[in-house]
Structures are given as structure tokens and as C-alpha cells.
Amino acid sequence: MRKIYSKIERIAGNVITVTADNVRYDDLAVVSSKYGDSLANVIRLDGPKVSLQVFAGGRGISTGDEVRFLGHSMQVSFSEDLLGRIFTGSGRPRDNGPELDENMIPIGGPSVNPAKRIIPRNMIRTGIPMIDVFNSLVESQKLPIFSVSGEPYNPLLSRIAMQAEVDMIILGGMGLKYDDYLFFKNALEEGGAMSRTIFFVHTASDPVVECLLVPDISLAVAERFALEGKRVLVLLSDMTNFADAMKEIAITMEQVPSNRGYPGDLYSQLAARYEKAVDFEGSGSITILAATTMPGDDVTHPVPDNTGYITEGQYYLSNGRIEPFGSLSRLKQMVNKDTREDHRSLMDGMIRLYANYKESLEKKSMGFRMTDWDNKLLKYGQIFEERMMDLSVNIPLEQALDRGWEIMAECFTPEETGLRTGLLKQFWPNKEDLN
């Protein structure tokens, strides 16, 4: 029988301190207050003084409340029974299903040995040309969507999730608006994907500490399924809320902030989660797509900035579109050589022309004279945005490539595209144009 402590000596924010013995770093405890039980975990040991962060928050805790240590660190139940279920950040049911407590596994486990990793090789098709053609998503990639708040990043995530060829989906929601939570739930139900989905959801009205647990719990479960051969897609939305939750705890613990109030280990903390993306040789994989909202549309804000240094590229969502500039899939070259022979050249060629279009647009806005060439580019840019960039476009890669050729043929002569003659001969729609 473990001892129960009933003298809380300090309560500050979500952190409480008790004097206790036989406690280990990161151990869990149950704090019972008149508002119910909450889990808490040990975040500092200082002689007999034990500091814990209370998942349900410090509000309403009284100095006389009971603290009972469980003798282990945070765990989650792992089995097929998780599928189709919805849980909180600390793993309690959010739906009406039963509590799961069998086959408990630890969360936040060790990292994969780099020597056991393999070079990524499988493309994940999404039906979105700005991804499939221009910045292919690759199995085991970690990729955030950098988004101004108010952009449709959650619909984008759910659409990718439903269309992606993966075995299962884990949604980790952090600070989700309740509406967004319902949106995900409905979308996945309607799409018939619920039975291969697990939700770990922290909503904006839930206690902030639970937000911190969401990535670890989601990824621990994902890792087990991946080791059993499943290709798992993990969606994390919104990682900026996760970072803000860390900031809150760090300030409570009186840590010296490094940059705009964020703790000095923000990079390491984010990396520990994103690096869980992996392809296990001979088994399954974890692909991570995250939403990172950029406060003030500022990529240099510490959260998107640190994220960009960790992830393998980013999708830049702005004005309801994935922007070709600023977006990057660092793994695309691993896969786009094996799709169709015109893929790479078409991708480069169209982006180059789109960049030229942007220049002409700028010149136009400054009132400079437009040449014939400028006018061609202006036409091209507009069509490109309508038929390729618009997020409602939903076509397979091959069709998107064909469409690319059509757009170019509508706007330019073959040699104006700067593409190799061999390719033009093979793919240019109106062969009469070629001589």
C-alpha cells in the first residue's frame, strides 16, 4: 500500500509541491480534490520536496487535498480496442465507451537508433496537386502546415487523412476549438474512416496540462501500431498550442525564458515529438502531419521557426491555398523520380514560370509597361491558381500532370516553357505546335 500525503505545501499555477519520500522523477500521482480526481506527474525533486504538475490544473486544489503516488510514470492502454475511440489528453474516454486499462504501455519512450533508420521511399498520394505534384508527401515524413490563424488547416488535415493511403489515423488535438473537434469527428465518420481512427483530444476548454500529453500519448500508440506493421498517419493540431502550454508551465516553474517567453528547450521538446516519425524496416511507419499556426503570420515566431528547423519541410497555407513559395517537401526528390518521367521537369518548369508571373505582377503593380511576355505570364498565373492551387481541386497525380501540360499549352509556345525538347515531343498536347 502506497502512502497518501495530505499536506500540499505550495500551489502555484498548475504546479503543487508536497513533502514525500520514495518518489521517482516523472512518477504519476492522483490528486483528489472536491472537484474530483486528477492525475499529476513529478517534474522536480528537491530533497524531500516533490513538485508535480496537475493535469486538471491547480485551480480549486486545497492544501489539505490528498496526493497518492502510483509508482510509475504516465501510461496508456494499447490494443485494437483503441480504434474508433475518442480519449482525452490523459487517455480517459471522451466518448461513452469503457475505460481501457489493459496492456498499459509507457509514453515518451526512447528514440529510434539512427543506424536502424532507412531512406524514405514511398509517396503518400493525397489528390491535392500542390502536394502530389509540387511537394510530394512521403511515408515517414514529418511535415507541418504553417498557417495563419483562420485558414482552413483542419479541413485540409482531415481531407489528407481520408484520402491518404494509410492503414490508420491518430488525431492528436491540442487546444482544439470544440467546433473543430466536432468537425474532425463528423468528417471522419462521414468519410467512413472512423473505424481506423483514434482520437486523443484536448479542447480549448480543457486543463492546459493535458494538452502537453497529447503528442506523447498519440505517438506512443502510433509507435506500437507501427511496430505491428501498420502505416500510421498522425495528425497533430495545433502544435502552437502545445508550445504555449509548455511556456505556461515553464513560467510557473520560474524558468528563464529564452525567446518571447518560450523555454530554452523548445527546440528539443518539439524535436523529441517530431522525430518519432519513422519507417521501421520490415514493419510499419509513422508519418506526422501537424498544424502550426503562426501568430501574426510571422514565420520567424519561435514556434514556426523552431519547427522549421526540425521538420522535413512545410506546407505554407495562405489565402486558402498551399503557396508554392515557402512550401517545401525535403523528401520529395526521394519519390518523384519514380512517378512519371515528366514529373520533376514539369514541377520545376511550372514553378519557374509562376515565379516569373509574380515578378510581372509586381512590375504591373508598380505601373511599369507590360510586354507581350508579361501578359502571357499574367494569364498563366491566373489559370495556374484556379486549376492547380485551389484547394477544391481533387485529382490524382497523373491527371494533375496532364492538366499542367494543358495549362502551359494554353498560355505559351513550347519553347517558351524552357522544357527539354524530348519531353515536349512526348507530352505537349497540340503536336502541331511543335515543329
Binding site: 525533486l45 528514440s111 537508433n113 539512427p114 533508420r117 532507412i118 525567446n259 528539443s268 522525430e275
Partner: protein
């Protein structure tokens, strides 16, 4: 002697406070016992009988009163034959061996020998009984791949010794006795092929440190010609995320003209290390005909591996570099990214509640960075041969802003600065080194007067370009317009280089000089061009030919053909050479004569 022990009295993140019984030293290694596991840690502060230690592992499960055992040794690495081709973590654990033992994950508290104990090495003695030797003198050699690996008197043998006994020619493991040395007092010391050296102490067993004055050829044009690196020198590559720091280092690690490359993947993505460790064993080094792996050591302490070991990893790497330098070899250390190392220091400093400096980095950040880069250098060894350690570190500045502490502290001590530029990267102009903001104190491979002339075209062209944004093409004179075209041409055909093209990726010094001369001719030309349209058209054509030329194999028929196309085209429009260009060429030639 009994070992010093202690008991845990506090845990804060990856730092534990320990009450110690007995003597300990700063940077001493100790092990925290948690259940069956012993977690390696390093003493980083001592106050009274309390030691603060950074734990090189996750601290989950450590409790108050857990036992700590001190080793009496500083954090050290094993030095000896068998380091090359290895992939180590920051504490020199061989990662492939760990994988054999433990599978997919890195288990806590499992440490393995860095050097293989069972492998036999063919030893040839170079001394005989009765000889007098001192630290770093060669006792014998063993072949390690393509190198002659010197078995040296350990660097911490600070006196003069008489060789009592030396092993005969034959095969031995690293743990067998190779020699017995006797000091002045008559104490005998047994020496084998390996010994340990504390990573945070520079190896200084050389005769003299020299000025780095020979280029270290990277085969990247913009570097070798415009902002060169020297053997034994230091340089840094700051740049925002995605600008191309890692790709640039990967390219350098393949083609750099050095004997040995040590890659320190410090707190960055594991996936990037995988590319290197899967590809290098397949790639043939044209200089040696052997795989690139045979001249490489990888230290991989990637971003999700423990932070304290990340801090150690750059020291592990530089110690291995210094060790091979002692064999008269030229070693290049590439560290990606030094900012992650600095952040590891920041994390520990925060836990120690030290007074923070700018952006919460510790006040000693500058001196620690300076001391690290100071470990580079070219030296004359006791036997008269030369060895060097060159250090190149990437920097990942917060927000891509170079006005931050790590970039600034680094710029104070390095000899060359390769600043990557977000705009150039976004325009896919690779390598995205900014040609005008970057600088180097080292000599390059092309005559400096000519390079200066080219640089002047670049900056003038840049000025015109800025102006043109305001006044438009219409408001720009034809003369200025041509200067702008020349600078864009220089950028497109010389500064930019395709790292993924088999020919263009690596350009020899000979070819750089040859191509540069042609380029120089174009930049220095007075051109007969009727109007802007004509000028643009001319440079477009010229650029196409020049890029084709860059892609054709050195001295091949294709190469000559493309060269001819360039020359023919130029002749049609060239009416003479600008005075400055003539002057610079003359200056370069006369220097060449006086050198010859």
C-alpha cells in the same frame, strides 16, 4: 583506492544533484544507479559536498537516495585503430552495435566499447628497446584502411621514457601490450594500441602551430574561388531553416580534398545522417579508389537523443580529429549544427540557475565557442610532418537573424563566413551562399586580383539591380543594364552549382581556373550590343552554352565543343577589354611570375 560515491538529492530535467562522499573533479563521470541500470553522467558544478551532474540519458525513474558511483575519470574517448568507418553517438557508443544488441530503439544505460576488441591489427614496430620516447612519438604503425595508423605514446605521458620492450611485427588486438616504457624514476608503463583522452582538453602534442595558408579545396566554385577555406582554418555556415546548410556540408564531406572527414550530426534530424551512412559505403572516392566511408567517422547525436550527450558530441568529434592530425593527416570536422550544441549549454545553464546572458544563453557562451574553434589548426609534428584540423560549423540562428548570440560569437573567431541567404534559397539559387555578405581571410585557388575584379562586377551589378527595381528597365542606361546582366551571368554560371549533377557537383582547381579565365574574359569585355533586348538575348545564349559547358566532362569533346560555342559567340560582340580588367589581369600575372 576506493571509489567515491554519493546519493541523489534532487532531480530537475536531465540534471541531478548529488551529495558526495569523497573527492571528485569537475567533468568527472559518474553513474546514477536506477534499478538495474547505470546512467552515465558528468559533474558540471561542485558546491561544498553537493555535485550537480548532467545525465546523458532520460531521467525518468530516478529517485532521491539513489546511489551514484564516480569513476575517477573525466569524460573521455577511446583512441586507437578502428575509429574510421564508425557511426558513434555523442559518447562514442557504436550505434550499429547498439542496434544489434537492442533493436530499433536506443536503450537507456547500455554502453559499448568504441573500438572493436577482437579485431587484429598488423603491427610494425618503429622503435627498439633502448630508444627514448615521449608523448605522441610513434612506437609502430598498423594499416587502417588506406592509412598508416600510428600507434603513439599516449598523450598523457608527460615525461621522457626509455623503451624497455616493444612488440614484434605481427597481429595484435587493441588491448594487447605493444610496448613497455620506463620513466626516469624507473617505473614501468605498459602501453597498448588504445588509450583514452578527455574530450574537453585539446591535444597539444605537437612542435608548433602554423598559420593556415593553404586552401582546403571543397570543389564548390563559390567557396574555393570567392570565399575559400584553409587547411587548419575555421569557417561557419549560418542560415535560416531550409537554406541548404546540411546539403552544403554533405557535398563538402564528399568532395573536400582532405584525408579524413569527421561528421558531427549534432542535434539535427536523424534522417539526414541516414542518407550519409547508407550512401557513403557505396560511393567511391576518386582519389583513393575506396569507398568514402573508409575516410569517414560519423558522430550522430540527433535531436531526439539526450541533450547532455549532444553537448559532449562536438568534443568527441574534435578529439577524434585531433588524434588523426597527430598522424600527419589533414582532417576536416563538419559540425551540424553548432546552435544545437549552444542550446544544450543553455538548457544546462538554466537548470543550474546561472545568471543568463542574451536570449538566456550563458555568459560564457562566447569563450566556449572560441575555445572549440581554437582546436582547429595546422601543426608541425615532432617528426617534421604536418597535420591539420579544419572546422566548419553550421549555425541555425533563431528567426534566420544573424544578430543573435551564437552567430555573433562564432563570427568573432572563425576565418571565413559563408552566410546562406533565404532569398537565394527560395529562388533555388544553390548553394545559397550570399556572395557579397560572406567573407574569408584565407587564400583562394584563383588569382586574387582577378577575383576582386569579378567581385566588383557583382556588387556593381547588384546596385544596378536595386536601382532598376525603382526606376524600371526604361530608366536604366544600356551600360548599367549590361553590368547587371554580367553580374547575373556570373551568378548563374559560376556561383550557382548543381550539387546533384555528377560533373557539376565537384569542380577541380584546374577546371575552376580554366573556366574562370573564360568567365573573366566575358566579364571584362567591352561589348557591342545595340539595345537591351539584344543584350539580354546575347547573355541568355551565352548562359545556355556556359551551363552546358559546366555539365560536360572535363576535357571531353563535348567540353571543347561548348567552349568553342562560347568563344565564337563572344567574338561576335566583343570589341575589346575594359581597362580595369586588363590591369587586374596584369597584376595577377606579375604576381604569378614573382612566385615562380
Amino acid at each position: 583506492m576506493t571509489k567515491t560515491t554519493g546519493k541523489v538529492i534532487g532531480v530537475n530535467g536531465n540534471m541531478v544533484a548529488v551529495k558526495v562522499e569523497g573527492d571528485i573533479s569537475l567533468n568527472e563521470v559518474g553513474y546514477v544507479k536506477v534499478g538495474e541500470q547505470n546512467l552515465k553522467s558528468e559533474v558540471i558544478r561542485i558546491q561544498g559536498d553537493t555535485a550537480e551532474m548532467q545525465v546523458f540519458e532520460m531521467t525518468t525513474g530516478i529517485g532521491v537516495d539513489d546511489e551514484v558511483e564516480f569513476s575517477g575519470e573525466l569524460l573521455a574517448v577511446e583512441l586507437g585503430p578502428g575509429l574510421l568507418t564508425q557511426i558513434y553517438d555523442g559518447l562514442q557508443n557504436p550505434l550499429p552495435k547498439l542496434a544489434e544488441e537492442a533493436g530499433f530503439f536506443l536503450p537507456r544505460g547500455l554502453y559499448m566499447n568504441a573500438l572493436p576488441r577482437d579485431k587484429k591489427w598488423e603491427f610494425t614496430p618503429k622503435v627498439k628497446a633502448g630508444d627514448t620516447v615521449a608523448a605522441a612519438d610513434t612506437l609502430g604503425t598498423v594499416p587502417e584502411g588506406i592509412f598508416e595508423h600510428r600507434i603513439m605514446v599516449p598523450f598523457n605521458f608527460y615525461e621522457s621514457y626509455t623503451v624497455k620492450k616493444v612488440a614484434e611485427k605481427g597481429e595484435y588486438t587493441v588491448e594487447q601490450e605493444m610496448a613497455v616504457l620506463e620513466d626516469a624514476k624507473g617505473n614501468q608503463h605498459s602501453v597498448n594500441m588504445m588509450f583514452e583522452w578527455p574530450v574537453k582538453r585539446a591535444i597539444s602534442s605537437y612542435e608548433e602551430r602554423l598559420e593556415p595558408d593553404t586552401s582546403m579545396v571543397t570543389k564548390t566554385r563559390i567557396i574555393d574561388t570567392f570565399i575559400p577555406v584553409a587547411r587548419g582554418g575555421t569557417y561557419c555556415i549560418p542560415g535560416p531553416f531550409g537554406a541548404g546548410k546540411t546539403v552544403l556540408q554533405q557535398v563538402t564531406s564528399r568532395y573536400a580534398d582532405v584525408d579524413i572527414v569527421i561528421i558531427a550530426a549534432c542535434g539535427e534530424r536523424a534522417g539526414e545522417v541516414v542518407e550519409t551512412l547508407r550512401e557513403f559505403p557505396e560511393l567511391i572516392d576518386p582519389r583513393t579508389g575506396r569507398t568514402l566511408m573508409e575516410r569517414t567517422v560519423i558522430i550522430a547525436n540527433t535531436s531526439s537523443m539526450p541533450v547532455a550527450a549532444r553537448e559532449a558530441s562536438v568534443y568527441t568529434a574534435v578529439t577524434l580529429a585531433e588524434y588523426y592530425r597527430q598522424m600527419g593527416l589533414h582532417v576536416l570536422l563538419l559540425a551540424d549544427s553548432t546552435s544545437r550544441w549552444a542550446q544544450a549549454m543553455r538548457e544546462m545553464s538554466g537548470r543550474l540557475e546561472e545568471i543568463p546572458g542574451e536570449e538566456a544563453f550563458p555568459a560564457y557562451l562566447e569563450s566556449v565557442i572560441a575555445a572549440f574553434y581554437e582546436r582547429a589548426g595546422v601543426v608541425r609534428l615532432k617528426d617534421g610532418s604536418f597535420g591539420s584540423v579544419t572546422i566548419g560549423g553550421t549555425v541555425s540562428p533563431a528567426g534566420g537573424n544573424f544578430e543573435e548570440p551564437v552567430t555573433q560569437a562564432t563570427l568573432k573567431v572563425v576565418g571565413a563566413f559563408h552566410g546562406l541567404d533565404r532569398d537565394r534559397a527560395e529562388a533555388r539559387k544553390y548553394p545559397s551562399i550570399h556572395p557579397l555578405n560572406s567573407w574569408s581571410k584565407y587564400p583562394g585557388v584563383v588569382a586574387v586580383d582577378k577575383v576582386d575584379f569579378a567581385r566588383s562586377i557583382l556588387s556593381r551589378g547588384d546596385e544596378v539591380g536595386q536601382m532598376m527595381k525603382v526606376v524600371g528597365e526604361e530608366g536604366t542606361s544600356l551600360e548599367d543594364y549590361i553590368v547587371n546582366l554580367k553580374s547575373e551571368f556570373l551568378d548563374a554560371v559560376y556561383l550557382q552549382q548543381n550539387s546533384f549533377d555528377p560533373v557539376d557537383a565537384a569542380v577541380s582547381v584546374e577546371r575552376q581556373n580554366y573556366v574562370f579565365d573564360q568567365l573573366y574574359d566575358i566579364l571584362g569585355s567591352i561589348l557591342e550590343l545595340s539595345d537591351k533586348e539584344d543584350a539580354r538575348h546575347f547573355f541568355n545564349q551565352l548562359r545556355q552554352h556556359f551551363i552546358d559547358w559546366n555539365y560536360s566532362e572535363w576535357d571531353s569533346d563535348e567540353f571543347k565543343e561548348n567552349e568553342k560555342k562560347i568563344k565564337t559567340l563572344l567574338e561576335q560582340k566583343q570589341t575589346g577589354l575594359m581597362e580595369e580588367a586588363k590591369r587586374a589581369r596584369k597584376a595577377a600575372e606579375s604576381k604569378e611570375h614573382s612566385n615562380a
